[in-house]
Amino acid sequence: MRFKKITVENFGPFKDPTSIDFSARNGVSIVWGRNGRGKTTLLNAFNFVLNGTVKDRDGNVDNFLSFINEAGMNEGKYIFKVILDLENNGKVYRIVRSIAVAPGVDKPTSNNDLYTVLQVNESGNILSFADSEHFVKGIMTKEVSRFFLFDGELLTEYEELLNENSVRGGSIKSSIEQILGMPILTYGASDSDVAASTIATEARKVAQNEQAVSKYTQNLDAATETREYQEQELQRLMEEREACILRRNKLQNLVEDTEKLRQFSARKKSIEEDMERQRQICDDEQRAIAGILKDSWQWMIAPVLRQRLLDLQSAMADLHGKEQTSKGQEIIIEYIQQAIKDIYCPVCDHPVSPNEREKLEAKISQIKAETGGLSPEEKVQLESYRTQQDILARYANVTDQAQEIKVRYDRYVAAFVKFTDLKEHDLREVESDLEALRKNATGTDEKAAFEYFDQLGKVAAEIAEYDQGIIRVGAEIDKTKETIKKLNTTIIAKSQNKDVVLANKKVAFAEAIAAIFREGIDVYRDKLSRDVERDATEIFMEMNTEEDYGGLRINENYGLTIIRKSDGKPVPKRSAGWEHMVAFALIGALHKNAPFDGPVIMDSPFYRLDIINTKSMVKALPLIANQVLMLPYPGEINPSTTRTDIGDYIVQELEIARISSNESTIKEMSTND
């Protein structure tokens, strides 16, 4: 069987008709969706169209009213519809299942005001209601559908299979055997028994007036009455137990919601802190840039000033040289004048003669004539140059801050982009998750979580009590059945009536058929166990990353234990993630051994796995079925690594996008996301 297309209308968050087209190619279709967008609704859409049933997140079954789109409801549209196009055994089918408002009801206020409508079109021909029902029930029974349409929580139920005395485990075992075709044998045996019993009852009616068997017929009436009472008691226990399981599921959801709320709140706080850090960086850099820009004129005109300073220094050079020469001559003159005055030359170390004095005075006149020194105008000019030089030197040497501003500006932009990204993307998403969670949760503080744990413990104890009761009453029923069978046999055997004798032979014929089916159960079950163990091991080893894990071993409940390579012993305590992978391997193996095939639809199956195991499980997806539709939330698996891991097996990627708080749609996903 292959799914071709599913369309939902006014169902959950999907108000307008919304479709998923399945590719004709084998592989994995991925529909990404954040919490509260409608992933679980899609799983429910498959369950609804195939089984006529829906289950809300609290485990309430068939609360159809809660699945009508809120916006549609406000517009007076009180119906919803799911259409599934599929191919099965070479024929094309369209299954349309919808909810309609009961006659005489204007606006439905409870599920009693609604009813379901089913229509099947087989290769263009509309089937009758009875044939439609028969077809839909035939392609995938409700019990079998749990292996095709499942979520992460369902995978956890398979841990019960390891508890050989668990009634819950027994119930899952029964579902497993359904997918493997075992009911053909078990019901073949029980229905043949019923046929034998019917033939025997008819014979007993003929024989009951016979004196020889009257004592046995009275005992048989009493035993039949006991059996009816026991079956009623069993039914009561089962119903009480189911109610407990519903309560347990609700409590588990509340505990998970509390944990999710804590995680989301912590994430929100961390995002807000990060945003504050980025905002602080923006402020700091902005302030620093403003500070630098305040004096920016200094380094902006520095190159011009530097050139001006060079020009000035060049202009000053002649005047400065003249001033220096003049100063040197003045010292010499002063020295000569001192020698004349003292009549003694300290250089020659002897008294200055009048002749020499004359020469020295002539020398002074010569020096004065040769070097006139700076004129008064030149002195003023030089002083002015010097003042300008001091001012220019102060600003011409200011460091260029442009690079610093660029670095700080880049830092500011990076922080601003990060801040905006956090605000517009991360914060908005986590707030959306919180909103979705708060909308569903009734009490999610830590104190409440402790109460939930406490109540969970009590419910678990109640379930265990009911389990024991069911086992006890079940054993009593088997005993009574055996008594009834023996009494029937005795009545027929002791009767002298010819018709009864013939009926006796017919009973034996029917019982022989029942025996063939009954004996077949054990033989076929053994074979299936071996096949499932082998195939589950093959899938598990594809995912396995532990060096010492060598394979899986199956128990009577189809529970699988990981076996160590080193000593051949079971791994004693497995983490929740490994349990999850084993359950996944089991489902893959069941699909390989089922007498029919079909697509697998999985809603958020990875939430208990770490990164490495998630990666391994993602890689193994194409192994479990030809058509796989996965409904993960971003963060559960990494989109880009998933693309690498599954590669060509990805046939399409879609996403559930929010239109408004009560409306979603499905669109093609950009692989850049």
């Binding site: 029930k137 359904q178 229905d191 019923v194 034998a196 017919k506 022989a512 074979k527």
Partner: protein, 68 residues
């Protein structure tokens, strides 16, 4: 995927041939088919199985013979 009931049929045929040769092979095959076709319809499944058994058992005679 196996996609058929051959293994299951063959398992029952081995048991029938070895231990219950007086039971016709066809009745077992017919019941397997009835069971497979009506898995989610218990009433119909039980009724059709019984009909099949009665149909075959009606060939049995009171004096020990079988009409077949």
């Amino acid at each position: 995927m196996k996609n058929n009931l051959d293994e299951l049929r063959s398992t029952l045929e081995s048991i029938r041939a070895a231990k219950y040769p007086e039971i016709p092979a066809e009745v077992i095959s017919a019941i397997i088919e009835v069971q497979n076709q009506n898995q989610n319809d218990p009433t119909r499944r039980q009724r059709e199985t019984q009909k099949m058994i009665i149909q075959y058992s009606n060939q049995i005679k009171a004096d020990g013979g079988n009409e077949q």
